[in-house]
Protein backbone atom coordinates (compact mmCIF):
# COMPACT_ATOMS: atom_id res chain seq x y z
CA UNK A 1 0.00 0.00 0.00
CA UNK A 2 1.24 3.47 -0.80
CA UNK A 3 2.08 5.91 1.94
CA UNK A 4 -0.88 8.21 1.18
CA UNK A 5 -3.30 5.29 1.14
CA UNK A 6 -2.06 4.13 4.53
CA UNK A 7 -2.47 7.63 5.92
CA UNK A 8 -6.04 7.94 4.63
CA UNK A 9 -6.91 4.55 6.09
CA UNK A 10 -5.46 5.50 9.48
CA UNK A 11 -7.36 8.81 9.42
CA UNK A 12 -10.66 7.15 8.54
CA UNK A 13 -10.24 4.39 11.12
CA UNK A 14 -9.35 6.92 13.85
CA UNK A 15 -12.45 8.94 13.05
CA UNK A 16 -14.64 5.84 13.07
CA UNK A 17 -13.12 4.77 16.39
CA UNK A 18 -13.78 8.19 17.91
CA UNK A 19 -17.38 8.24 16.68
CA UNK A 20 -17.89 4.67 17.84
CA UNK A 21 -16.65 5.60 21.28
CA UNK A 22 -19.09 8.50 21.27
CA UNK A 23 -21.98 6.11 20.68
CA UNK A 24 -21.15 4.26 23.89
CA UNK A 25 -21.50 7.43 25.96
CA UNK A 26 -24.80 8.34 27.57
CA UNK A 27 -25.66 11.98 26.86
CA UNK A 28 -27.98 12.11 29.84
CA UNK A 29 -25.21 11.00 32.18
CA UNK A 30 -23.67 14.45 32.47
CA UNK A 31 -22.13 14.60 35.92
CA UNK A 32 -23.72 17.26 38.05
CA UNK A 33 -21.40 20.00 39.25
CA UNK A 34 -23.33 19.92 42.53
CA UNK A 35 -22.09 16.51 43.66
CA UNK A 36 -19.62 17.02 46.50
CA UNK A 37 -20.74 20.62 47.08
CA UNK A 38 -23.11 22.05 49.61
CA UNK A 39 -26.72 21.40 48.67
CA UNK A 40 -28.42 24.73 47.85
CA UNK A 41 -30.70 26.09 50.53
CA UNK A 42 -34.39 26.52 49.76
CA UNK A 43 -37.48 27.72 51.58
CA UNK A 44 -40.68 26.35 50.09
CA UNK A 45 -44.32 26.13 51.12
CA UNK A 46 -45.69 22.64 51.84
CA UNK A 47 -48.44 21.30 49.60
CA UNK A 48 -50.70 20.88 52.61
CA UNK A 49 -50.10 24.43 53.88
CA UNK A 50 -48.30 25.66 56.96
CA UNK A 51 -44.97 27.37 57.42
CA UNK A 52 -42.31 27.26 54.73
CA UNK A 53 -39.71 24.56 55.09
CA UNK A 54 -35.99 24.87 54.41
CA UNK A 55 -33.17 22.40 53.88
CA UNK A 56 -31.37 23.77 56.93
CA UNK A 57 -34.31 22.56 59.05
CA UNK A 58 -32.93 19.07 58.48
CA UNK A 59 -29.25 19.65 59.18
CA UNK A 60 -27.86 16.60 60.93
CA UNK A 61 -30.16 14.24 59.06
CA UNK A 62 -29.72 12.65 55.67
CA UNK A 63 -32.14 14.08 53.10
CA UNK A 64 -33.43 12.50 49.91
CA UNK A 65 -34.82 15.30 47.73
CA UNK A 66 -37.05 14.03 44.95
CA UNK A 67 -38.23 16.37 42.18
CA UNK A 68 -41.43 15.09 40.53
CA UNK A 69 -44.63 16.11 38.77
CA UNK A 70 -48.07 14.53 38.38
CA UNK A 71 -47.80 14.61 34.57
CA UNK A 72 -44.53 12.66 34.61
CA UNK A 73 -44.90 8.97 33.69
CA UNK A 74 -41.47 7.96 34.99
CA UNK A 75 -42.45 9.45 38.36
CA UNK A 76 -45.40 7.05 38.55
CA UNK A 77 -42.98 4.27 37.71
CA UNK A 78 -40.58 5.10 40.54
CA UNK A 79 -43.21 5.99 43.14
CA UNK A 80 -43.50 2.50 44.72
CA UNK A 81 -39.73 2.45 45.30
CA UNK A 82 -40.01 5.81 47.06
CA UNK A 83 -42.88 4.54 49.20
CA UNK A 84 -40.89 1.45 50.20
CA UNK A 85 -37.78 3.49 51.01
CA UNK A 86 -39.85 5.92 53.07
CA UNK A 87 -41.41 3.12 55.07
CA UNK A 88 -38.02 1.52 55.69
CA UNK A 89 -35.99 4.59 56.62
CA UNK A 90 -38.42 7.12 58.08
CA UNK A 91 -37.34 6.43 61.65
CA UNK A 92 -33.66 6.06 60.83
CA UNK A 93 -32.65 9.71 60.58
CA UNK A 94 -33.26 10.04 56.84
CA UNK A 95 -35.87 12.50 55.56
CA UNK A 96 -37.59 11.94 52.22
CA UNK A 97 -38.84 15.23 50.75
CA UNK A 98 -40.73 15.67 47.50
CA UNK A 99 -40.43 18.88 45.44
CA UNK A 100 -43.32 19.40 43.04
CA UNK A 101 -42.02 20.70 39.70
CA UNK A 102 -44.12 22.73 37.20
CA UNK A 103 -47.41 21.38 38.40
CA UNK A 104 -50.62 22.48 40.08
CA UNK A 105 -51.40 21.74 43.74
CA UNK A 106 -54.64 20.05 42.64
CA UNK A 107 -52.78 17.80 40.19
CA UNK A 108 -50.19 16.91 42.82
CA UNK A 109 -52.88 16.07 45.40
CA UNK A 110 -54.76 13.84 42.97
CA UNK A 111 -51.53 11.98 42.19
CA UNK A 112 -50.71 11.42 45.87
CA UNK A 113 -54.25 10.29 46.65
CA UNK A 114 -53.97 7.76 43.87
CA UNK A 115 -50.43 6.49 44.39
CA UNK A 116 -49.96 7.00 48.12
CA UNK A 117 -47.01 8.18 50.19
CA UNK A 118 -47.07 10.37 53.28
CA UNK A 119 -43.75 12.23 53.23
CA UNK A 120 -43.34 16.00 53.08
CA UNK A 121 -44.26 17.56 49.73
CA UNK A 122 -43.13 21.10 48.84
CA UNK A 123 -44.33 23.38 46.03
CA UNK A 124 -41.67 24.96 43.81
CA UNK A 125 -43.70 27.40 41.72
CA UNK A 126 -41.41 29.51 39.56
CA UNK A 127 -38.93 26.62 39.56
CA UNK A 128 -36.31 28.66 41.43
CA UNK A 129 -35.30 25.68 43.55
CA UNK A 130 -35.22 23.45 40.47
CA UNK A 131 -32.87 25.92 38.77
CA UNK A 132 -30.75 26.09 41.93
CA UNK A 133 -30.37 22.30 41.77
CA UNK A 134 -29.70 22.22 38.02
CA UNK A 135 -32.87 20.21 37.40
CA UNK A 136 -34.02 19.95 33.78
CA UNK A 137 -36.53 17.14 33.84
CA UNK A 138 -38.35 14.93 36.25
CA UNK A 139 -37.83 12.74 38.13
CA UNK A 140 -34.49 13.79 39.55
CA UNK A 141 -33.40 12.71 43.01
CA UNK A 142 -30.65 14.20 45.17
CA UNK A 143 -29.05 12.42 48.11
CA UNK A 144 -27.81 14.90 50.69
CA UNK A 145 -25.66 13.85 53.64
CA UNK A 146 -25.78 14.94 57.25
CA UNK A 147 -23.34 17.77 56.64
CA UNK A 148 -25.53 19.17 53.89
CA UNK A 149 -23.32 18.04 51.00
CA UNK A 150 -24.78 16.50 47.83
CA UNK A 151 -23.61 12.90 47.83
CA UNK A 152 -25.35 11.73 44.64
CA UNK A 153 -27.69 12.95 41.93
CA UNK A 154 -29.87 10.52 40.01
CA UNK A 155 -31.58 11.33 36.72
CA UNK A 156 -34.68 9.34 35.91
CA UNK A 157 -36.69 6.90 38.01
CA UNK A 158 -35.08 5.40 41.11
CA UNK A 159 -35.09 1.71 41.94
CA UNK A 160 -35.14 -0.11 45.27
CA UNK A 161 -31.46 -1.04 44.82
CA UNK A 162 -30.46 2.54 44.15
CA UNK A 163 -32.40 3.89 47.11
CA UNK A 164 -30.90 1.31 49.48
CA UNK A 165 -27.38 1.87 48.20
CA UNK A 166 -27.46 5.66 48.32
CA UNK A 167 -29.36 5.96 51.59
CA UNK A 168 -26.96 3.51 53.25
CA UNK A 169 -24.12 5.84 52.23
CA UNK A 170 -25.90 8.72 53.95
CA UNK A 171 -26.28 6.65 57.08
CA UNK A 172 -22.66 5.51 57.21
CA UNK A 173 -21.60 8.93 58.46
CA UNK A 174 -21.75 9.53 62.18
CA UNK A 175 -24.76 11.61 63.18
CA UNK A 176 -24.10 15.24 64.18
CA UNK A 177 -23.14 15.81 67.84
CA UNK A 178 -26.22 16.00 70.12
CA UNK A 179 -25.89 19.71 70.89
CA UNK A 180 -24.97 20.64 67.36
CA UNK A 181 -28.29 20.88 65.50
CA UNK A 182 -29.61 24.43 64.94
Amino acid sequence: MTWSRTLSLVAVLSLVALLGFGLTLDPSAIPSPLVGSEAPEFRLPPLEGGDSVGLSDFRGEGVVLNFWASWCLACIQEHPALVRAWETYRDEGVELIGVIYQDTPAGARRYLERYGGGWLQLLDSGSRTAIDYGVYGVPETFFIDRQGLVSHKHLGPVTDELMTREIDKLMVQAPAAPGGTP
Binding site: S32, I131, G134
Partner: protein, 159 residues
Protein backbone atom coordinates in the same frame (compact mmCIF):
# COMPACT_ATOMS: atom_id res chain seq x y z
CA UNK B 1 -33.21 51.10 41.47
CA UNK B 2 -29.58 51.22 40.35
CA UNK B 3 -27.11 54.06 40.84
CA UNK B 4 -26.94 55.20 37.22
CA UNK B 5 -30.73 55.24 37.03
CA UNK B 6 -30.90 57.47 40.11
CA UNK B 7 -28.31 59.88 38.72
CA UNK B 8 -30.22 60.04 35.45
CA UNK B 9 -33.47 60.72 37.26
CA UNK B 10 -31.88 63.41 39.41
CA UNK B 11 -30.48 65.07 36.31
CA UNK B 12 -33.82 65.10 34.55
CA UNK B 13 -35.55 66.37 37.65
CA UNK B 14 -33.17 69.29 38.01
CA UNK B 15 -33.70 70.18 34.33
CA UNK B 16 -37.31 71.16 35.03
CA UNK B 17 -39.50 71.51 31.93
CA UNK B 18 -41.94 68.60 31.51
CA UNK B 19 -43.37 67.25 34.75
CA UNK B 20 -40.84 65.35 36.77
CA UNK B 21 -43.30 62.47 37.16
CA UNK B 22 -43.32 62.01 33.36
CA UNK B 23 -39.56 62.11 33.26
CA UNK B 24 -39.26 59.53 36.00
CA UNK B 25 -41.68 57.29 34.13
CA UNK B 26 -39.61 57.74 30.97
CA UNK B 27 -36.41 56.80 32.71
CA UNK B 28 -37.98 53.75 34.32
CA UNK B 29 -39.33 52.60 30.93
CA UNK B 30 -35.98 53.12 29.27
CA UNK B 31 -34.19 51.20 32.00
CA UNK B 32 -36.72 48.36 31.80
CA UNK B 33 -36.37 47.95 28.04
CA UNK B 34 -32.58 48.00 28.46
CA UNK B 35 -32.95 45.22 31.02
CA UNK B 36 -35.20 43.23 28.72
CA UNK B 37 -32.71 43.54 25.88
CA UNK B 38 -29.88 42.37 28.14
CA UNK B 39 -32.04 39.47 29.38
CA UNK B 40 -32.70 38.44 25.77
CA UNK B 41 -28.99 38.57 25.07
CA UNK B 42 -28.03 36.38 28.02
CA UNK B 43 -30.94 34.00 27.34
CA UNK B 44 -29.79 33.53 23.76
CA UNK B 45 -26.35 32.44 25.00
CA UNK B 46 -27.74 29.71 27.26
CA UNK B 47 -28.99 26.33 26.15
CA UNK B 48 -32.53 25.36 27.08
CA UNK B 49 -32.07 22.27 29.28
CA UNK B 50 -35.37 20.80 28.04
CA UNK B 51 -35.16 21.48 24.29
CA UNK B 52 -31.41 21.21 24.09
CA UNK B 53 -31.05 22.38 20.50
CA UNK B 54 -32.64 25.72 21.32
CA UNK B 55 -31.46 28.67 23.29
CA UNK B 56 -33.36 29.71 26.40
CA UNK B 57 -34.50 32.76 24.41
CA UNK B 58 -35.97 30.68 21.56
CA UNK B 59 -37.43 27.85 23.61
CA UNK B 60 -41.09 27.97 24.61
CA UNK B 61 -40.71 25.40 27.39
CA UNK B 62 -41.85 26.41 30.83
CA UNK B 63 -38.41 25.92 32.32
CA UNK B 64 -36.96 28.31 29.70
CA UNK B 65 -39.58 30.90 30.61
CA UNK B 66 -38.73 30.56 34.27
CA UNK B 67 -35.02 30.75 33.53
CA UNK B 68 -35.67 34.01 31.67
CA UNK B 69 -37.47 35.44 34.70
CA UNK B 70 -34.56 34.33 36.83
CA UNK B 71 -32.04 35.99 34.47
CA UNK B 72 -34.09 39.19 34.49
CA UNK B 73 -34.21 39.30 38.26
CA UNK B 74 -30.48 38.70 38.66
CA UNK B 75 -29.62 41.41 36.10
CA UNK B 76 -32.01 43.79 37.82
CA UNK B 77 -30.27 43.07 41.11
CA UNK B 78 -27.07 44.33 39.53
CA UNK B 79 -25.33 41.14 38.43
CA UNK B 80 -23.37 41.15 35.19
CA UNK B 81 -24.24 38.84 32.25
CA UNK B 82 -21.04 36.88 32.94
CA UNK B 83 -22.04 36.37 36.56
CA UNK B 84 -25.49 35.12 35.56
CA UNK B 85 -23.99 32.70 33.02
CA UNK B 86 -21.43 31.51 35.59
CA UNK B 87 -24.28 30.78 37.98
CA UNK B 88 -25.99 28.50 35.46
CA UNK B 89 -22.69 26.77 34.67
CA UNK B 90 -22.21 26.11 38.40
CA UNK B 91 -25.64 24.41 38.53
CA UNK B 92 -25.92 22.60 35.21
CA UNK B 93 -22.36 22.30 33.95
CA UNK B 94 -20.62 23.81 30.94
CA UNK B 95 -23.05 22.30 28.45
CA UNK B 96 -25.57 24.96 29.49
CA UNK B 97 -23.57 27.46 27.43
CA UNK B 98 -24.46 27.40 23.74
CA UNK B 99 -20.91 28.34 22.86
CA UNK B 100 -18.47 26.10 24.71
CA UNK B 101 -15.58 28.14 26.10
CA UNK B 102 -12.35 27.86 24.10
CA UNK B 103 -10.52 25.75 26.66
CA UNK B 104 -8.97 22.31 26.94
CA UNK B 105 -10.74 19.55 25.06
CA UNK B 106 -13.30 22.06 23.76
CA UNK B 107 -10.55 23.44 21.53
CA UNK B 108 -10.95 20.24 19.47
CA UNK B 109 -14.53 21.28 18.66
CA UNK B 110 -13.38 24.70 17.53
CA UNK B 111 -10.20 23.71 15.67
CA UNK B 112 -11.02 20.30 14.15
CA UNK B 113 -13.40 21.63 11.46
CA UNK B 114 -10.81 24.20 10.46
CA UNK B 115 -8.06 21.61 10.10
CA UNK B 116 -10.39 19.15 8.40
CA UNK B 117 -11.25 21.84 5.87
CA UNK B 118 -7.57 22.59 5.36
CA UNK B 119 -6.73 18.89 5.01
CA UNK B 120 -9.58 18.46 2.54
CA UNK B 121 -8.21 21.36 0.51
CA UNK B 122 -4.77 19.73 0.34
CA UNK B 123 -6.23 16.39 -0.78
CA UNK B 124 -8.36 18.18 -3.37
CA UNK B 125 -5.33 20.04 -4.69
CA UNK B 126 -3.37 16.87 -5.34
CA UNK B 127 -6.37 15.07 -6.80
CA UNK B 128 -7.19 17.91 -9.16
CA UNK B 129 -3.58 18.11 -10.26
CA UNK B 130 -3.75 14.49 -11.33
CA UNK B 131 -7.17 14.69 -12.96
CA UNK B 132 -6.66 17.92 -14.86
CA UNK B 133 -3.39 16.89 -16.57
CA UNK B 134 -3.74 17.98 -20.22
CA UNK B 135 -3.90 15.24 -22.92
CA UNK B 136 -0.56 16.47 -24.37
CA UNK B 137 1.30 15.78 -21.13
CA UNK B 138 4.04 13.31 -22.10
CA UNK B 139 4.54 11.93 -18.60
CA UNK B 140 1.16 10.21 -18.59
CA UNK B 141 1.00 9.08 -22.22
CA UNK B 142 1.02 5.32 -22.68
CA UNK B 143 4.50 4.02 -23.43
CA UNK B 144 5.25 2.30 -26.72
CA UNK B 145 5.47 -1.09 -25.01
CA UNK B 146 2.05 -0.63 -23.50
CA UNK B 147 0.49 0.21 -26.84
CA UNK B 148 2.05 -2.85 -28.46
CA UNK B 149 0.70 -5.04 -25.67
CA UNK B 150 -2.78 -3.63 -26.10
CA UNK B 151 -2.53 -4.18 -29.82
CA UNK B 152 -1.66 -7.83 -29.35
CA UNK B 153 -4.76 -8.44 -27.28
CA UNK B 154 -7.12 -7.24 -30.00
CA UNK B 155 -7.02 -10.52 -31.72
CA UNK B 156 -8.54 -13.45 -29.92
CA UNK B 157 -6.05 -16.01 -28.64
CA UNK B 158 -5.70 -18.98 -30.95
CA UNK B 159 -5.91 -22.40 -29.32
Amino acid sequence: MTGPTMVLMLGLFLQGGTSSADQVAQVVRARESELEELTRQVASELRCPVCQQLSVEDSSSELAREMKNFIHDRLEAGETPDQVKAYFVSKYGEWILLEPPMRGFNLVVWLLPFFAFLGGGVVLYFALRRWLVSPGDASLAPSGEHVAHVGSMKTPPRN
